[in-house]
C-alpha cells in the first residue's frame, strides 16, 4: 500500500451508474441478461469511475459500487437463506403499514422499485460479497482501495422480517450470529486480497436515536416493530465488535449518516451524533466516516481514539462547495482533531440506490476535485 498524504481524500462508496448499466441491472434481475454480459458493462462502468477519481486526484479509490443495486441488498444474491424481495411482495407482511405507505408517498416511488434482502432460511455466505469487486479494482489501480460493506446491524435489522424469518431464527439476535460469521469470512478474504480500508455502512443507527415518536424514514428499518433504542445500540456495538475481533491488517471504518435517498434536506433526519457518541467510541474501528457538510448533523464532536472521515461536501446538492468553504470545514475539525487523524470525504455516496442517484457524475466529480484542492492547500 502506498503511503497516504495528510488529509487523505476518499469517497463514501457509491457513484451514479450510467443508464445502460441500470437497464442491465434490471435485465439481470429478471434473468434476461447473463452474468458475463452484465459484468462486461459493469467493468466498463467501474473503469470509468476509477478514471474519474484518478483525474479528481482522490487518494483512495472505490469501485463506485457500480455492480450493486444498492448499498446493502446486493448481498442477497451472494448469500444462502436470503431472498431479494421487492416491497411490493412484502406489503402484506410488514408490521407498520401506515409508516410504509407514508415513506413510499414521500419518496414518490413504486413499491416494486425498492428491494430488501430478506431472511427466509439459514443464512450463509455462498459466494464472496465484495472480494471480486476488490480484485477487479486492484488490477486497474495502483492507489489504495476502500471496500464498503453493509454493517452487521443494518444487515441483521433489515433482513429480519418476523413473519418469514422467525421460522428459521427465533429472534433477530439469533440471525445476528450468522451475520457475524458471514462478515468475518468476508473480511478475512478482503484482507488477504489487500483491501486497504473496509468501511461498514450503518445508516440505520441514526434512525434509532432521531425518530422516537416520529415518522420513520428508513425503509429497511420500518419492517419490524420498534424496540428500545439503548438496547438496539448495545446490540449494534456487540455485533460490530465481534465482526472485527482480531482483524488488524486493513483499516476498518464505519459510516453513519441520516439517510441519502432524497435531495429534499427537510425529509432527511436531523440531530447531532451526540446520542451515539458513547456507543461509537466503543466500536473497535479506527475511523468514523461522518456527515458534517449539512447543518442537520450539528457540531463536530470528539470521538476518543478515532480517526474522523470528515464529510465536507453534500452529495445531494447541485451547488459545488468552494475550496475555501471546504478548507474552513477542515479547519473546524482541526480544532478538535490532530491533522493526522482527519480524512476527507463527501457526506455519503452519490448513489446509494442505483435507481436513485442523488447527483450527476459530473457534479460528483467537481465536488471531489474541490476537496482535493482544499487538501492540497492545507498540506503545504
Amino acid at each position: 500500500m502506498s503511503l497516504l498524504p495528510l488529509f487523505p481524500v476518499t469517497t463514501v462508496g457509491s457513484w451514479p451508474r450510467p443508464p445502460e448499466l441500470l437497464r442491465a441491472q434490471r435485465l439481470r434481475q429478471k434473468g434476461e441478461m447473463g452474468e458475463e454480459e452484465f459484468n462486461k458493462l459493469a467493468d466498463d462502468a467501474v473503469l470509468k469511475v476509477l478514471r474519474l477519481q484518478d483525474e479528481a486526484g482522490v487518494d483512495m479509490v472505490t469501485d463506485g459500487e457500480q455492480r450493486r443495486d444498492n448499498f446493502y441488498s446486493f448481498v442477497a444474491t451472494k448469500m444462502e437463506g436470503i431472498k431479494l424481495m421487492t416491497l411490493a411482495e412484502m406489503l402484506d407482511l410488514v408490521e407498520d403499514k401506515v409508516s410504509f405507505e407514508r415513506i413510499l408517498r414521500t419518496l414518490d416511488v413504486p413499491s416494486y422499485s425498492i428491494s430488501n434482502a430478506t431472511c427466509i432460511g439459514k443464512v450463509k455466505r455462498a459466494r464472496p460479497l465484495a472480494v471480486q469487486e476488490l480484485k477487479f479494482v486492484r488490477q486497474h489501480t495502483h492507489k489504495p482501495v476502500k471496500v464498503t460493506l453493509p454493517g452487521p446491524y443494518l444487515m441483521t435489522r433489515s433482513m429480519y422480517l418476523p413473519s418469514v424469518s422467525s421460522k428459521v431464527y427465533r429472534t433477530k439476535e439469533d440471525l445476528g450470529e450468522d451475520v457475524i460469521v458471514t462478515l468475518r469470512e468476508e473480511i478475512y478474504e478482503l484482507m488477504e486480497q489487500g483491501a486497504d480500508f473496509i468501511q461498514f455502512d450503518e445508516p440505520v443507527l441514526t434512525e434509532l436515536v432521531f425518530t422516537q415518536g416520529q415518522t420513520r424514514t428508513f425503509m429497511c428499518a420500518a419492517l419490524a416493530a420498534r424496540k428500545d433504542p439503548a438496547e438496539e445500540l448495545e446490540f449494534a456495538v456487540s455485533l460490530i465488535n465481534r465482526v472485527v475481533d482480531g482483524f488488524h491488517r486493513s483499516r476498518l471504518g464505519m459510516h453513519i449518516c441520516r439517510g441519502n435517498w432524497s435531495q429534499d434536506e427537510a425529509t432527511l433526519l436531523r440531530g447531532s451524533y451526540h446520542p451515539l457518541l458513547k456507543y461509537l467510541e466503543r466500536m473497535k474501528v479506527q475511523q468514523l466516516v461522518l456527515e458534517y457538510a449539512t447543518e442537520r448533523a450539528g457540531d463536530i464532536l470528539h470521538f476518543e481514539g478515532k480517526e474522523l472521515g470528515l464529510g465536507v461536501v453534500n452529495p445531494r446538492t447541485e451547488n459545488i462547495e468552494s475550496v475555501e468553504e471546504i478548507k474552513q470545514s477542515i479547519e473546524r475539525a482541526l480544532r478538535i482533531y490532530p491533522p493526522d487523524k482527519v480524512w476527507l470525504n463527501p457526506d455519503c455516496g452519490f448513489s446509494s440506490f442505483s435507481n436513485r442517484p442523488v447527483n450527476s457524475s459530473d457534479i460528483a466529480f467537481r465536488k471531489l476535485k474541490n476537496i482535493v484542492a482544499a487538501a492540497h492547500s492545507l498540506r503545504t
Binding site: L22, R23, Q25, R26, L27, K30, T86, A88, V98, L104, R105, D108, V109, P110, S111, Y112, S113, N355
Partner: protein, 149 residues
C-alpha cells in the same frame, strides 16, 4: 351485439357491512365513506377508487399483452377528493355535494421497452377504460404515467 348487463346482489343485515354477491364471488363493503383511519371495513368510496385504479392497471396489462410489449410491473398510487365531504355528514350550512371531484393517480410502469411505446399503450388504455370513460365528464382526473427501469 345484444345488450349485456352485469348483475350483482347486495345484502345488508342490521348494522352489518353489506355483502356483495357477484357470479360465484362475494365481498363485503362498509359504509359509503369514513374519516376514521381505524374503521374496520373497506368503504364504498375506497372500493370505487380501487375499481377505477384496477381498471387502469388491468387495462394496461391487457393492451400491452396484445401489443406484445413487456411490462414487468405496474403500480398505481391514488388519492380522491370529494367536492364537500361535510355535506355527506349533513353538517348544517354546508353547501356543495359529496360527489368525487378530483382523482389524482400516479401510475408507475417498470419496463425496458421504449418510453414512447409505453405512452402509446397508455393512451389506448385510457380510451378503452370503462370506468375512466364513465368518470371523465364529471370528475377531474389527473393521471400521470411514470416509466421506471
Amino acid at each position: 351485439m345484444d345488450k349485456v348487463s352485469w348483475n350483482l346482489r347486495i345484502v345488508a343485515e342490521e348494522k352489518e357491512p353489506a355483502t356483495v354477491y357477484v357470479r360465484k364471488h362475494q365481498f363485503r363493503v362498509g359504509v359509503p365513506l369514513q374519516f376514521d383511519p381505524e374503521y374496520q371495513h373497506i368503504t364504498a368510496l375506497e372500493y370505487a377508487l380501487g375499481a377505477l385504479s384496477a381498471d387502469v392497471v388491468g387495462g394496461l396489462q391487457a393492451v400491452s399483452r396484445r401489443r406484445r410489449l413487456k411490462l414487468y410491473c405496474i403500480e398505481a398510487v391514488v388519492s380522491g377528493e370529494l367536492n364537500n365531504p361535510l355535506t355527506y355528514l349533513g353538517v348544517v350550512g354546508e353547501t356543495g355535494n359529496p360527489g368525487l371531484e378530483h382523482v389524482n393517480m400516479t401510475v408507475y410502469v417498470s419496463s425496458t421497452a421504449k418510453e414512447e411505446d409505453i405512452r402509446e399503450i397508455w393512451g389506448e388504455m385510457l380510451q378503452k377504460s370503462p370506468l375512466v370513460q364513465t368518470l371523465k365528464p364529471t370528475v377531474k382526473l389527473d393521471f400521470v404515467l411514470k416509466v421506471t427501469a
